[in-house]
């Protein structure tokens, strides 16, 4: 059993209990043992002084790509789980677009066993909706869940068949899991390299219109209404999507949504100079979209912040814009971007942010954690929300380096991350 840990004198923010107070947190036997004033741990416990820092349930990311099995040169479950821990995450959900894809219990079990070996952040696999992500026939949800999958998604391959999506939403209800969808009407998006707008026109790049996402979002919302199934909309990027989700929630549908740090931070202008580190899918959109996504986070239309952490080898991004792969790293910059772009400008409070990065994600995918209630898993992060630092990709724990934020000054970072009562990350010379 791991050594008990006493975290003393920090600002304890536990969104699950709406608590925000200076207190001690005592962790023993892998669980939260007590939270309160003047706790004295048993002899031999490790004491961590957290005065001036924030103690919170560990951050949880519902959307990462860890590339294993199949693309271990980009990331492995071990390096991804370490990058997660360094970013303050105690748990991440791994998308199934691996090779082979996570469409069977063997592959799901493999991810879980690799994560156990790594002993860093927890890794929860997401199974595929369809066999081979082909969009044709349903995967065996029962077996996927039995092996440890917490949700299903075909991720980068949007489910184009409305019938298949309907069936998935219905069938998933049996197991109480959400269906997470990457919303993209592919006939509209085909060949697109960035957001369709003034910048794409100037750069001569084929655009992906906002409508490509919104048509799919509308369909998924309608199917959620039809089936009563839980649809989770991945990485929302447009103001139109935000508006439709707001309306769906108002009508009481089981629709939840995530937004990435890059979509609430950057616009399509970031693609200027054919910057392939600004190439992603969905693409970076317009200032009005960024503004709408920030408001959607503020009013709860968007439930969670998720990173869509997408490692790529540096030379894959070192090429013509049309041919470069989509996606950027997210785990080691997410919290800082959220603090810098959302909390410091006063859009949301720090407790609200932690709700959207810990408590709420745990609720959506029914994961342990997201709370410091006594008896909860000892998944805890100590954050320094004021720390100023400059993004230097060469210091990332991730195997990859693809970020458009290199050189950017940010505020806020994780100092120490505890998973199952064990310290898995501790920042040196802070």
């Amino acid at each position: 059993m791991s050594q008990p840990i006493l975290i003393r004198g920090g600002r304890v923010i536990d969104p699950s209990r709406r608590a925000d107070d200076v207190a001690d947190v005592y962790l023993a036997e892998g669980k939260v043992a007590s939270v309160g004033r003047n706790i004295t741990g048993e002899d031999g416990c490790r004491v961590i002084e957290a005065r001036g820092r924030v103690v919170t349930p560990g951050l949880i990311d519902l959307h990462v790509h860890l590339r294993e099995p199949g693309f271990e040169d980009l990331e492995t479950i071990a390096t991804g789980a370490m990058a997660a821990a360094a970013g303050g995450f105690t748990a991440v959900c791994a998308m199934p677009n691996t090779d082979p894809p996570l469409d069977n219990q063997g592959a799901v079990g493999f991810v879980i066993s690799q994560a156990q070996k790594a002993q860093k952040a927890r890794v929860y696999p997401i199974g595929t909706i369809s066999v081979g992500q082909k969009g044709e026939s349903l995967s065996e949800f029962g077996e996927l869940v039995g092996a440890g999958a917490v949700a299903v998604s075909d991720d980068g391959k949007p489910v184009m068949s409305s019938h298949l999506m309907r069936t998935a939403l219905e069938y998933a209800r049996t197991f109480g899991i959400p269906v997470a969808d990457h919303c993209e009407e592919i006939t509209l998006a085909a060949g697109g390299a960035m957001h369709e707008g003034l910048v794409s026109t100037r750069l001569g790049l084929k655009g992906i219109p906002a409508a490509a996402e919104e048509i799919h979002v509308a369909r998924d919302i309608i199917l959620s209404g039809l089936t009563g199934g839980h649809i989770h909309l991945c990485h929302m990027s447009t103001r139109g999507s935000a508006e439709m989700i707001r309306r769906a929630k108002h009508e009481g549908l089981r629709v939840t949504a995530e937004v990435t740090p890059h979509h609430f931070t950057l616009t399509h202008e970031a693609c200027e100079g054919y910057n392939t580190n600004a190439k992603m899918n969905p693409p970076l959109r317009e200032p009005e979209d960024v503004e709408a996504l920030r408001m959607a986070l503020k009013d709860g239309t968007v439930d969670v912040i998720a990173t869509d952490h997408a490692p790529h080898h540096y030379d894959a991004k070192e090429r013509e814009f049309d041919d470069a792969p989509n996606g950027i790293l997210g785990l080691e910059t997410a919290f800082a971007l959220a603090v810098t772009e959302l909390v410091r400008p006063g859009i949301i409070t720090l407790p609200d942010l932690l709700y959207r990065m810990s408590t709420r994600p745990a609720q959506l995918f029914a994961l342990p954690g997201g709370t410091l209630a006594v008896g909860a898993p000892a998944d805890v992060t100590i954050l320094d929300p004021d720390a100023e630092w400059t993004v230097d990709p060469t210091r990332f724990f991730s195997k990859s380096r693809n970020t458009p934020f290199a050189g950017r000054k940010l505020h806020g970072r994780a100092d120490l991350t505890i998973v199952r009562g064990r310290v898995v990350f501790e920042r040196g010379n802070r």
């Binding site: 003034l198 026109t201 001569g204 790049l205 655009g207 090429r319 013509e320």
Partner: protein, 319 residues
């Protein structure tokens, strides 16, 4: 570096980032180079000892040969590399190809490539001067410049002219370079074509959108008729070529109906009977062949200026 090189920068990637003065400098220099091609011995020593690689990853007749003539008439040593028969066919990346060429100590690269931004991409990774000879749907700056020179020849100046760019603007690098160049020199610019072939937000570039070809003809002093890029038409942007010609084709009948003299340009290669009828292309108002002639002079000017040549190049003069 001489003042001229500084004035133009290291590369010519597009007309968007050139100033009015830089464009005028190139056109003025081209004006002086025209005469070289009219001599019995078409050669000046301006780029003697310079090595230029022509990297053409897309099919091209006019542009490739025009660049090659420009280089040879300036006495540069040139090498042509295409995608077939080179390491590109073996999967070598663009940046590796260019770095390997540079390792052989070259001075300039002229690149034609199917991906937008490829010239800029290259320019940031090699020390040699890079000249964009057409990158995807982005820009084709020397074409834009030769179009400007041709208009200047015809009208005496570009300022105040009304130029309509007609056809497949969506896929056209020529259109983009023309829009920037014409606007910078004070022309009024309109685009005309089916809405499915006009890029999103084009009006924000400061051009008028004229939906019907007859209205464009009535409005314009000059038409720049773009090639319908049949090879990019897989998306089904128009129902058929026959209908395109009927609704958007520049025909003699339409020109006659307008009852005025109109200068007709086309960047080539033409689809006769699609975007332009033969009797218009070959007719009295067509400047399509003078465009080609001017192409050599413009490219000589660009190469010469990028290599650090003095803007007041005189007959027979070198550096």
């Amino acid at each position: 570096m001489t003042p001229a090189a500084a004035a133009l920068g290291k590369d010519l990637l597009g007309l968007e980032n050139l100033t009015r003065e830089q464009i005028q400098l190139i056109l003025g220099t081209a004006e002086r180079f025209k005469e070289v091609s009219e001599r019995p011995i078409k050669k000046v020593p301006a780029l003697r000892g310079k090595t230029i690689v022509n990297l053409f990853f897309e099919a091209s007749t006019r542009t490739r040969i025009s660049f090659e003539f420009a280089e040879k008439r300036l006495s540069a040593d040139t090498v042509n590399v295409g995608s077939s028969g080179s390491s590109v066919a073996k999967g070598e990346t663009l940046v590796d190809t260019a770095r390997n060429l540079e390792a052989m100590r070259i001075d300039m690269v002229v690149i034609r490539h199917g991906a937008s931004g490829s010239a800029e991409f290259l320019s940031r990774r090699i020390r040699s001067n890079v000249v964009n000879a057409g990158d995807g749907k982005h820009e084709h700056p020397t074409q834009g410049l030769l179009d400007l020179l041709t208009l200047k020849d015809r009208f005496g100046k570009v300022e105040g002219l009304k130029v309509a760019i007609c056809g497949d603007v969506l896929h056209s690098r020529v259109a983009r370079s023309n829009i920037w160049g014409l606007k910078k020199l004070g022309a009024e610019v309109a685009v005309c074509g089916p809405a499915s072939l006009l890029p999103s937000g084009i009006a924000a570039l400061g051009v008028e959108v004229i939906p019907r070809i007859d209205d464009a003809i009535a409005w314009a002093d000059a038409l720049n008729v773009l090639r319908l890029q049949l090879e990019r038409m897989t998306g089904g942007f128009i129902p058929s070529l026959r209908e395109y010609n009927r609704v958007f084709g520049v025909t003699r009948e339409r020109l006659e109906r307008a009852g005025k003299d109109l200068v007709i340009m086309h960047p080539g290669p033409m689809n006769r009977g699609v975007e332009i009828d033969s009797d218009v292309a070959d007719g009295p108002h067509s400047v399509i062949l003078p465009q080609v002639t001017n192409g050599v002079a413009v490219r000589m000017a660009v190469l010469y200026l990028l290599a650090g040549g003095s803007p007041d190049w005189q007959q027979g003069g070198g550096e």
